[in-house]
């Protein structure tokens, strides 16, 4: 009697039969159970007594279905070739435990299989089929839901995203004392549209600021989109091509809507793979703009001389961890190394590396599956040993998942090491171009400030110095006269209320002295007839029949009026250069 099958199991099998393409079919049919893949998996190396971690064993759980439902011999004599179907929801749960909890889809076994069996690809397919019947780790469900509903995998709201960009823009302007640094949003017709991982908004906004600084100093015409800015794609991890297509399409459409020429993908392994290498296939779209990793962009800026870097600013020993997704699945091997050699003084490889590197153990969505964290950290021993052997103080990676995975294992295995991304190192090594100083309107002139109040002398002195003047000051008329004789100022600001000898007396002395009769004087005084009944400057001028001062300003001083007056007076005396 035929065994009955649960509704979910039935749907799973129906989906499986539709989903298998030629590449998957070949991977499912070709395994000869030679076992060469066994010790290429980090799970096996750290669980030496448990064969259920072996790639061939894990693959067989899916292969058995293929044999049971699509292979001749399996259909006729299933026990002979190990064919077995799934019947119950419990069967699906057990499959879930393997495809989500015992494999990070790192593809290392695929590259080490003599037959070319690509376990990572059909393991992802099995994940997608399980997700289609609602069988998945809770964390995967939550993240996938956020990406469907809110448009990014961390549920970042638009106001938080835009607020963070604004915040980072202000930080940058303050850090570089340059209000021209911007993080443009939705600017049309830019050369570069820059997308990021929502983790950057939520936990690591500094990377956004650093990238913005690099774009700014490279003189790039760039923007970030207000929609479709999340380059990450949980469709890669949950195996759901529909989600993968929808998310990728959102990014591509944002670039098209802004008429961007190039999509630059921030340092994120799965984001890069999803957007650059898988997205067009899931979304069934042909892409008519360029797409590249920000690693390539930064490297190009340095090579083209658009930014200058000083590698001595990164002098700690650095090693590089290849992200499985950007390296083993997209071929990004050499550019990060070339860039590292340009921005740090002591780069050392870890072994093995490039296509043979071991997974950070946080890949394949593992960071969102907390129920498997103990397994993950146990398997991370391989990576920890690799890191330790380098003796490096910093491990650099171009992937946010790897950052989290490495951070976790470094803490777990108590390694003395930091995790950084290339953007951190490049930004740190940036040689910021010195801006040519703006021509100061009063540069080259010397002004004498005569005032008995020290605060006023300092205040006026600062205003004039900011305009490029040389400033000397004096607290009374006698010292003022001495300064006039010694310093030969181009202009004097004169307080009228001075100790011992008043300002009006000094003014009269100057005007009757042919040597100083034309020396410009701007009276800056707070006197009133009530406060200083003895001083009647206008009456004094009339009485002595001497010229009016070149300017007359009352305290408190209006800065604009002061500068306008001083500039005008100097210009009138034909000394102002502009």
């Amino acid at each position: 009697m035929a065994r009955t099958r649960s509704y979910k199991a039935q749907k799973f099998i129906e989906g499986f039969q539709k989903k298998v393409n030629r590449q998957a079919m070949l991977s499912l049919a070709a395994c000869v159970h030679c076992g060469l893949c066994t010790d290429q998996c980090h799970y096996v190396l750290t669980n030496p007594d448990d064969p259920t971690y072996a790639p061939a064993y894990k693959g067989d759980l899916i292969r058995k279905l293929f044999k049971a439902h699509m292979d001749w011999t399996g259909g006729a004599i299933p026990w002979w070739v190990g064919a077995r179907s799934v019947y119950t929801d419990q069967d699906l749960e057990e499959l879930k435990d393997t495809v989500f909890g015992k494999c990070t889809n790192c593809r290392r076994c695929s590259l080490n299989c003599p037959m070319g069996v690509d376990l990572a690809s059909f393991n992802r397919m099995a994940r997608g089929l399980l997700v289609s019947v609602g069988v998945m780790p809770e964390g995967v469900a939550v993240v996938a839901k956020d990406q469907w509903e809110i448009g990014n995998q961390m549920g970042v709201l638009p106001e938080d995203y835009l607020g963070t960009l604004q915040w980072m823009e202000e930080e940058l302007q303050s850090e570089y004392n340059d209000p021209s640094i911007k993080i443009p949003v939705d600017k049309m017709d830019c050369e570069v549209v820059y997308t990021i991982n929502p983790r950057e908004v939520k936990y690591d906004p500094r990377t956004i600021a650093e990238a913005a600084a690099i774009f700014h100093f490279a003189g790039e015409n760039w923007t970030m989109p207000s929609e479709g800015w999340d380059q990450t794609n949980f469709g890669l991890f949950d195996g759901n091509d529909e989600l993968g297509g929808a998310v990728a399409r959102r990014v591509y459409e944002a670039v098209r809507a802004l008429r961007g020429k190039r999509l630059v993908i921030s340092e994120c392994g799965h984001g890069y793979r999803s957007t650059r290498c898988e997205g067009p296939n899931w979304a069934k779209m042909d892409i008519d703009f360029e797409m590249e990793s920000s690693v390539i962009t930064m490297l190009r800026y340095i090579k083209e001389g658009r930014i200058k870097v000083d590698k001595t600013k990164n002098s700690d020993p650095v090693t590089y961890h290849d992200s499985c997704n950007s390296a083993r699945s997209c071929g990004l091997f050499e550019e990060p190394r070339e860039l590292l050699n340009l921005v740090c003084t002591d780069f050392r490889e870890m072994y093995p590396n490039r296509a043979e590197n071991y997974c950070c153990t946080g890949g394949g969505g593992a960071m969102s599956m907390t129920e498997y964290a103990p397994r993950r950290l146990k398997s991370a021993k391989v990576k920890a040993d690799q890191l330790k052997a380098t003796g490096a103080k910093i491990v650099v990676t171009s992937c946010h998942n790897c950052v989290d995975g490495l951070f976790d294992l470094i803490r777990h295995y108590k390694l003395d090491m930091q995790v950084k991304q290339l953007v951190n190192l490049v930004a740190n090594a940036l040689v910021v171009p010195v801006k040519p100083t703006e021509a100061k309107p009063l540069a080259g002139y010397k002004i004498l400030v005569i005032d008995d109040e020290a605060d006023v002398r300092i205040y006026l002195g600062k205003i004039f110095k900011d305009q490029g003047c040389t400033v000397v000051d004096a607290p009374d008329a006698h010292q003022g006269m001495r300064a006039i004789e010694q310093e030969k100022p181009d202009l004097i600001t004169l307080d009228l209320v001075l100790p011992k000898r008043t300002g009006e007396k000094l003014y009269w002395d100057l005007r009757k002295d042919p040597q100083y009769a034309d020396l410009p004087v701007v009276v800056v005084s707070g006197y009133t007839r009530i406060d200083s009944p003895k001083i009647d400057f206008h009456g004094f001028i009339a009485e002595k029949n001497i010229p009016q001062p070149d300017g007359f300003l009352e305290k408190p001083v209006d800065v604009d009026k002061l500068l306008e007056t001083v500039t005008r007076v100097l210009a009138e005396k034909s000394k102002v250069k502009h």
Binding site: V20, N21, R22, Q23, M25, L26, S27, A29, A30, V32, H33, C34, G35, L36, C37, T38, D39, Q40, V44, D49, P51, T52, A54, A56, Y57, W72, T73, W79, W80, V81, G82, S110, L111, N112, C113, P114, M115, G116, V117, D118, C277, E278, P280, N281, M285, I287, E290, M291, R328, S329, C330, G331, L332, F333, E334, E349, N353, R354, A355, E356
Partner: protein, 226 residues
Amino acid sequence: MYQASPVLRFAEDQLQVAALLFMAAVYIIKIGWILKFPAGRDRQPTTAGPHTNARKGAWHSLLNIALPWEMASTRQHPWFYVQFVIFHLGVAASIAMSFLIPYGPELIAGKVAVLGLQGLFAAAFVVGVLRMIRRISDPYIRAISSPDDYFSLGLLIIWLGFSFLAAPNNRQASEPPLMAYFFLTAFFLVYVPFSKISHYIYYPFARWYLGKTLGYRGVYPVRRGA
């Protein structure tokens, strides 16, 4: 002059031809079956640098089996790779011998040729036995082994044993081993398409597609540090 028995003549000729035709027919059907599955394709612009492309990747992948230094799995297990080579050469030589004995016996009549073949079959036989011991004793391999895995390997070990005995092609003195060899060969040819031994049909396809994808993405040929 010695005349081979009609049974042996049938086993080495008509039976082989019939078995081969059957195998070829099943293989043609099998290839048709493979091609019935839609092939996935890479729609995105390539990420390969100037050093590679899809075609280079595919060829590299196909030839991968002859480049043991290319994969960590073979590089780290050179003895395993040597076993693989011996075993597959033994099988290939035995298949060739099944054609040579009836249709070109003079080509393997010399003492050196016979000894060479026997040496190869013996080595392959020993490798087969070692592989069987590994399959039974290694918990990782045992966990993934089906009855077909044991039977296919056992079949090949026995077949290689009879290949060793049949290699001298001494019909007067050793007709029974020759007959056993040819009957086993015929059975082997008929059984292969339904067993794991048919992996060599999948091999070129599986490796071609993997290599094409990885070449297009700049991963194949594999680059690794010193």
